[in-house]
Amino acid sequence: MTRWPHTLLAFVLLSAWAGAQNGAPALTAEDKVRLFRDNSALIESLVNDGVALSAAETPVKRAEHSRSAARAIVNAIAQAATAENADRVVELAGLFRTVARDAVVPALDDARRVVSPESPDGKKLRELREQAARDVSDVRAAAPPTGKLGTNARVKDALNALDEISDALK
């Protein structure tokens, strides 16, 4: 007796599911060109940092170039914040978090294990750690909690996700 209601229910659910399959919209030619223009300066910096990272022979150099890549993203976040583009701030904050968490922090930690704190490299390393911590502060400052961006829920979430970076850099 319940076969037909169940079949109907399955059909309705399947239809609802099929209707919900909107997927990510494919990028149009205009989108591609616009995205390229928006990001070309940042990509150029990141390509240069990537090549410099490949040439880095010491942990301090690796930390320096990793931090440089992170800084390039911070600068792009500041521009996006000035333009009050919350979505771009969120996207870039995510990329900053990736670079800081997976490149800067491990590079600084690796370097600290092999560099004497009193050496010139040790001093350089302390400076880099401070600069990296300042980068995180700069990202937060780009979207102050009382401003239009700072009250955006997604921006708030993206900035809250940076807490782990601040903790790791202490």
Binding site: W4, L13, S40, V104
Partner: protein, 272 residues
Amino acid sequence: MNCDAVQNLILALPDPRELTPELREHTRGCAACAGFARRAAKLETVLAALPVPAAPEGKKADLLDDLTRPDPMMLPMPAARRSGGNGVAERAARFLRRNAGAAAGLAAAALIAVGGLWFATRPPKPIPDELAKVQKHPLLDKVVARDVQLARAASPTQKLEALGGMAEELAGEARGMARLAPGAELRQMAGWYEKVVRDGLVPQSAKLPPHVPAAEKAALLQTIATKLDADAAAADKLSGEAPQDAQPALKRIADAARDGGQKLRAAARGGN
């Protein structure tokens, strides 16, 4: 139990509002299935609340009579009535009652056909501005990932692999943009590609440590050189078809790839 199985079992329940302990256990830890179960339960509730016309008076008694009537179960076809609209309606109703399954199937097929027709002919849904703004730039994500890979690379071999990947992605992006972007932007991309090959891949190929066996070095460098050859061939081919202002950038990419490939092969032969 995977999510497909769980969702099928939810659909098979007599009442999806009452999940079995196993299904409840799964939905507790799976947001997708929990949402599915919620929707199924809601649908059940909504269906139950649909207004149903009241049965004609005496319908229950007729039904019980039908069910308890002695044999034969197969009734002879009644003689057709020649007059009166009621006769046709009754026959139709009787036909529908006897062929409820076929009628429901036919109705479902008609519904699917109408739905399909609507789906095929509906106007494209415009992309909302909010959605358009959050489009991610795939190349930016890839370059960030390569930078992280390079920061974590512990050996020249790993650096070569990361740089090779970055070069390949830049060449691919340039090819994708060759018909879209103005020449200046393609030249910028060609510059990035040249830098990765000239200042990244080629110097790293000379830094492979002596303890890496010569055959292993040769295989690695040969693999990357082959990819550079492919980049060169693809850029050459495309430059014949791309707009004129894109051609110099594609040629630069092809030249850089060929030059890099030759140097990597030389390093492979030299066993650096």
